[in-house]
């Protein structure tokens, strides 16, 4: 009787120790997570606070975390600054947004058409073209950069948005993600539709597209982000201030206001905030997209 009670007691104690050990290790884990989170957010936090400092405070050493007074007018000033020839932040936001939205939608439209062909139709040459597409994904961007620029000069497309829209109409990456997703959709519903005499265009529009909403959102967001964040192509192709996209404009803005980091940081915020908001709303799709491209690649 006593031994049994002792054993029970001992068991309880061991359990308690194990539980304590578990709490300690999970506490440590939370500590590590919070620390990493702080490191990841630190540049953003420091920069955001920095936007409210004066030009002297922002480069003072040692830096003080908080400004003496919060200069909200920095934001207003940068918003209204014109670097010449109509180059202002509202204009650049509009340009960048227009390009990113246009390219994202065209990638989805043409990409899902191609993906339907790869995933649902069987015709000679399909697999060869698919492999060809995977092969083109291996071509480094540095190789196409120069000749694409020459082509744009010949076609009179320099300093027009067509130079960024035409090559971005549809891409291998989007087609790949959409093809993988279409393949995972069960075929039953389409078969029923085909028996009812639906054409491929009809099944594509009425059955596949509605079912593929998550994948379409993923591609939409990834493409929006990649166009929003593009730098080298817009730097090459667009050369008048009213045509600039945010990234290019920001690099030129920084050259002009070299000593005034508070203004440059405000500009950086105008660039970062829209994508960050979009990301916090759609983070699930973002993350799925990155994971999808990785795992299934």
């Amino acid at each position: 009787m006593t031994t049994q009670a002792e054993a029970l007691d001992f068991g309880k104690q061991a359990n308690k120790e194990a539980r304590q050990k578990k709490t300690v290790s999970s506490l440590l884990r939370y500590l590590a997570l919070v620390l990493i989170g702080l490191v990841m957010l630190a540049p953003f936090i420091l920069a955001t606070v920095g936007t409210f400092k004066t030009d002297i405070e922002i480069i003072a050493f040692p830096p003080k975390f908080f400004p003496a007074t919060w200069h909200v007018e920095n934001w207003v000033k940068v918003w209204n600054t014109d670097i010449g020839q109509g180059g202002t932040f509202p204009r650049w936001l509009l340009n960048t947004g227009f390009l990113a939205v246009t390219v994202a939608f065209s990638q989805v439209i043409f990409g899902s058409m191609a993906a339907y062909a790869f995933a649902r139709l069987s015709f000679p040459g399909r697999d060869a073209i698919f492999n060809f597409m995977l092969g083109t994904m291996m071509i480094p961007g540095a190789v196409t950069l120069i000749p694409a620029y020459v082509l744009m000069t010949k076609l009179h497309l320099i300093n027009t948005y067509w130079s960024l829209i035409l090559p971005g109409l549809v891409g291998a990456g989007s087609i790949f993600i959409l093809t993988q997703f279409f393949k995972s959709i069960p075929k039953d519903m389409e078969e029923a539709a085909v028996i009812d005499g639906a054409s491929h265009l009809q099944t594509f529009r009425t059955i596949i597209l509605p079912l593929a909403r998550p994948a379409i959102l993923t591609v939409l967001i990834l493409q929006f982000q990649s166009m929003w964040n593009a730098f080298l192509q817009p730097l090459l192709y667009l050369n008048s201030p009213d045509k600039y996209v945010l990234n290019v404009a920001l690099s030129i803005f920084q050259q002009q206001y070299k000593a005034q980091w508070n203004y440059t940081l405000v500009g950086a915020m105008f660039n970062a905030i829209p994508v960050l908001i979009l990301f916090f709303i759609f983070s699930r799709y973002y993350i799925e997209g990155v994971a999808y491209a990785g795992i299934k690649g």
Partner: protein, 415 residues
């Protein structure tokens, strides 16, 4: 409508010929668009001027393409001939190619066409505004002249820099990404929030992150302040570092600390400079989250029964990590290493914004050099030379990724 029996021997002349002609014409049109004539907006002001230029310089190029286009056209025509008799197959083939047409046109014009053009031009002297002139392999030879003539070492130094970049950045970012993914994969509260916060640096444009880091790296910036206060804790004094302007190399500093010296003629022994390593840190910061997400997705695909079985056998968490987690992650590690290498060998944004290749060219990269040569930032425009550099870089990237894939696949055989 009745099902036609397929008759393989029947020859469908009209559709086959139409297919051949249309494919041949479309491919040749794309080739003419990308024909190696002089560039610039004037060339296409009138069709006659353009065709004069094409006739003057691009006929050999077009002849080669025409042969290729004819072969592709023939293959396509044979295929159409084969499927034409079968109603269902014919319908699927026509729909399939109609759906693929936008992609094929875009990729043939802006990827394949321009790559062929660049390859052709890499054997020429070309400054866009005049006709290309044949120089044979001179552009490729020029790239490696730095071995004998140290004033022409730009490309070799750029390669040297990005090799250090890959060697240091790829392993560190892969390691950190795995650790963060493993940490996030444990069951806990607030997982989504942490995942979102960790991923934020990868969403923001590299221009924004680079500018913020340039500011943090200033002499009076937060990074120096951080070191200053850490050093202060131990009563030592931190000498301010000009992070993005300091050309001292890693190996050079070690040798100098030991009392030695590496002269500037032996720059290739100096290792990555402080400025270059500062850019590496910033790059790792932005790429780790993306790769972390890939690893996290792969971790969630591992069957939990494996861990249960191992823990029943009395395996420690560390053993489980090295015997189950890492082997199961092998394919993703391979992918992340390859993607990381491709990315690091083509660094541009950070260099353009933060250092412009300096100090003492210790942060010069091949893509930045290509950009400079192609636009004539430092002197005349050298399009042909820039294209040659791009192809050399592409070959290096292919070799690297091939070796890495092989190496990692071999490593997997043990398990």
């Amino acid at each position: 409508m009745h099902a036609e029996p397929s008759k393989p021997k029947q020859f469908h002349a009209l559709p086959s010929i139409i297919t051949f002609v249309s494919i041949f014409v479309v491919l040749l049109l794309i080739a003419v668009l990308n024909a190696p004539t002089m560039g610039g907006p004037k060339v296409m002001n009138s069709i006659t001027v353009f065709f004069q230029e094409v006739k003057a310089t691009a006929l050999p190029f077009l002849a080669v393409i025409a042969v290729g286009a004819a072969v592709i056209g023939l293959v396509a025509a044979r295929m159409i001939n084969k499927v034409w008799g079968n109603t269902r197959l014919r319908r699927e083939t026509l729909t399939g190619f109609a759906f693929l047409a936008p992609y094929l046109l875009v990729t043939l014009t802006f990827t394949i066409g321009v790559v062929l053009f660049a390859f052709y031009i890499s054997f020429h002297n070309y400054d866009i505004f005049t006709r290309p002139t044949w120089v044979g392999l001179a552009n490729y030879a020029e790239a490696f002249k730095g071995f004998s003539d140290s004033t022409k070492r730009d490309f070799l130094q750029a390669l040297y820099n990005v090799l250090w970049y890959s060697i240091l950045v790829v392993p560190i970012q892969t390691f950190l990404a795995i650790q963060m993914a493993v940490l996030l994969n444990k069951p806990m509260k607030g997982k989504q929030i942490f995942r979102t916060i960790f991923y934020a640096p990868s969403v923001t444009s590299s221009v924004v992150i680079t500018l913020i880091f340039v500011w943090l790296y200033l002499k009076g910036g937060y990074i120096n302040a951080l070191f200053n206060s850490i050093w202060g804790l131990f009563g030592a004094k931190w000498t301010t570092v000009n992070w993005l302007g300091d050309p001292r190399g890693l190996i050079q500093m070690i040798v100098e600390a030991l009392g030695g010296k590496i002269p500037s003629t032996q720059w290739f022994f100096r290792g990555p400079s402080i400025a270059w390593m500062a850019i590496m840190v910033q790059n790792i910061f932005t790429t780790v989250p993306t790769f972390m997400i890939m690893f996290l997705a792969a971790l969630q695909d591992i069957n939990p029964a494996l861990y249960e079985a191992a823990s029943m056998e009395g395996a420690s968490p560390r053993e489980m990590h090295s015997k189950i987690t890492l082997p199961m992650l092998k394919p993703i590690i391979s992918l992340v290493v390859v993607l990381g290498t491709i990315g690091t060998l083509q660094v541009f944004d950070q260099v353009y914004l933060a250092t412009k290749g300096g100090p003492l060219k210790t942060s010069l990269t091949p893509v930045f050099l290509i950009y400079q040569e192609a636009l004539g930032i430092n002197g005349p425009i050298h399009m042909g030379y820039a294209s040659a550099l791009a192809f050399i870089l592409a070959v290096i990237i292919f070799i690297f990724t091939f070796i890495q894939r092989r190496g990692i696949e071999k490593g997997t055989e043990r398990y």
